[in-house]
Structures are given as C-alpha cells and as structure tokens.
Symmetry: C2
Subunit: 204 residues, 2 copies
C-alpha cells in the first residue's frame, strides 16, 4: 500500500523536527507537540504516522529515536545519496556548498558545466567537468540524484542527458517545466512560479 502523496511531502518535515528534538536531548514527543513544530494538525500527524505502522505508545506518545529511524528508512535518509549538479553558476555553487551541511545524507560527487572558464576549477572540493564526461562519471559512480541549475535554454537537454545515464530523479531549478514521462521523476522548483503565487496572495 503506497503512502498518500501529501503524507510523503510531510514526512521530511517531521524528520527535521525529530532531528531537532533529538539534538536537544528529548526522548519522547506527543502528537500535539510534534504537530505544532511541523505546522500541521495533530489529527493529521497521527494519521500520517499510523500509515507507517504502530509507532506510538498510547498514554505517552512517540519514541523519538525509533520514529526517527523509521521515517529515515522510509525516506531513504539513512543512506548516503550521490548528487550530480549540472550548471555551476551562482545557483549550482550554492547547492554544492549546501550539500556539505547535510551530514552524509547527500554527497556531492559530480559537477558539470560547459563554460570553459569554469571547467577544471574546484567548487566545494569537486572538480568541474564538461558535460561530455557525464557518461563515464555517472555510470561508474552508481545511482545519482541530479540537480539542474543551468540557464533555461539548456535545461531540457541536460535533463535528457542525465536521464540517458541512468539518473532517474532530478530537481530542476531552471524556469522551464521539464517532464520526462513516468520513468523519470523531475521536480520542478521554479522561483518565477513561486513569485507569481506570492503576488497573487498579495492581491488579497
């Protein structure tokens, strides 16, 4: 039985809250507290967690370590994922640096670009290679997640290139909608669209 999509979007939220609770030495939480931290309803939270199995103890709440492990394992956050970034402009560089702060959940392994000025420079400890070298690097390096931070014109080509080398899941930040069909998962995170939604809400 697959998890409802909205539940999946909330699990990372819960995980982050549990991380914080764990760091501050807590050992258990009740649904009300955790729900408030995550900004969702307590009913909703309990339903979400119930999908994952019987994780709580009635009367006292949820064991933080156990819950954290369970959610981590479901999300795949207990492994290290290789990440390849295409497009090493300001955006790509920002993500490259961010990845080193994700405590071994995500490891930057490859940076690609086509700009001769950037090739062979080192960003966040990784050498920038030309797109041409993608095949060799990605296939031997095992499964990767992809991040696309190229200009909009080349985003779709890059996405197809990544897919052709076995990258099934990617994040696209270029202001173009990319859809590679059901075999590949592309999450489009378009700042322009976000801004338009802000402006709508700003108009009452």
């Amino acid at each position: 039985m697959p998890l409802p999509e909205p539940t999946i979007t909330r699990l990372p939220l819960y995980l982050r809250c549990l991380d914080r609770l764990h760091e501050s030495g807590e050992v258990a939480v009740d649904s009300q507290t955790l729900a408030q931290m995550a900004g969702v309803g307590a009913h909703n939270l309990r339903k979400d967690l119930a999908y994952l199995g019987n994780l709580g103890t009635r009367g006292s709440g949820y064991d933080i370590v156990h819950l954290r492990e369970t959610i981590s394992s479901i999300l795949g956050a207990d492994r290290t994922w290789n990440v390849a970034i295409c497009g090493v402009g300001n955006l790509g560089t920002a993500f490259a640096k961010y990845l080193s702060s994700t405590q071994d959940r995500f490891m930057l392994t490859n940076l690609f670009d086509v700009d001769p000025q950037k090739l062979d420079t080192t960003v966040a400890g990784i050498r920038v290679l030309h797109n041409d070298q993608m095949g060799a690097r990605l296939i031997e390096g095992g499964p990767h997640l992809g991040i696309i931070s190229t200009p909009p014109e080349s985003a779709l080509d890059v996405a197809r290139l990544l897919a052709s080398y076995g990258v099934r899941s990617m994040l696209n930040f270029a202001p173009v909608h990319i859809d590679l069909g059901p075999a590949n998962l592309v999450r489009n995170v378009d700042v322009g669209l976000h801004l338009l939604m802000l402006s709508y809400h700003e108009m009452l």
Copy 2:
C-alpha cells in the same frame, strides 16, 4: 468566491505556456494542446479556466491574448512587484540576476546582508545595504516581496524583521521552516526537503 488552492498553483504554469505560444505567433489554443504543454489533464484545465469566467469560444478554443491578460491580471503579473533579497551569498546573487530576466514583472529594489565584505558592493545593479537600513528603504519604497537566502540561523530573525517593515509575502530558501502566522505568507522552498522526497521516490 475564492479560487481553489491547486488551481492557483497551476495558473502560473498556464501563464508561462501562453507566453511561449504568444511568442511563437499563435493566436488561439484548444484545451487539449494547452493542457499537454502544462502537463495537466485537459478536463482539469477547462475546469480551472471556467473558474475565471467564460473565456473560451466553443468550437475553436481560447484566445491567447485575452486569456493571457486575464490570468495575468488575476495573478498580479500585469504589475511590477518590488523585491527585496536578504542574504547576498551565491543563492541571493543567483536570484538577483534572475529577476532581471522576468520582463518587468519583478524588479529588484533592495539587497540586504550583514557581512562587511559584501556591504556597499553592487550586485545586479543594486547596492548591498546592511539589515539595519531595512526600515527606511522598505517603508519609503512601498510594498515589497521578500526573498530570504540567508544561513539558516538568521532566517527566522530576518523574516520577522521583514514582516515588521510591512513585507507580507516572502519566499524562504533557508533550510528552516518559517511560519509567521496567518497575517504573513511565507512559502518555504527547502532544497533539503526536496532532495529527501527525491530519495523516497528513488527507493520505489
């Protein structure tokens, strides 16, 4: 009658497709074509557009210019919105540069940071000022949208600061969930959370 939230998230998508069609000289589209471009179902699209009024002509489809104007006006995309960016690292710089490509829909007016190395430098034609000067600049400059691209530690403080100077809508890219209550709209766009969702889907 307010629009359903899912519809609102799709309108910017439609608008972008209409922009493209308009540029390539088309004058009308039918729901099927437009739906495919936007990656949604044709039924869904027609329902969305029906919320906005009777915009199509039966038998031939939708007039592109008219539809574009209508959606633009609803989203507020026919005005120019002032944007203030807090945190001028790689991420902030990338957004600053991006804004100049949004053809007058969004105008970068203010850059704020606290790093002495960045203060008084110029990025995308705008001088970087200290957070202390926010009040004066934002209040006299009129309504603004805010973008938060600071490190996570300072993101919440910055958000509150922005809100205190009348910025009601913001985009937060720091990996911290920010919620300022119902009076302010904060959209949290957290790359870390997106990556976790990718890894979930990658695990089948």
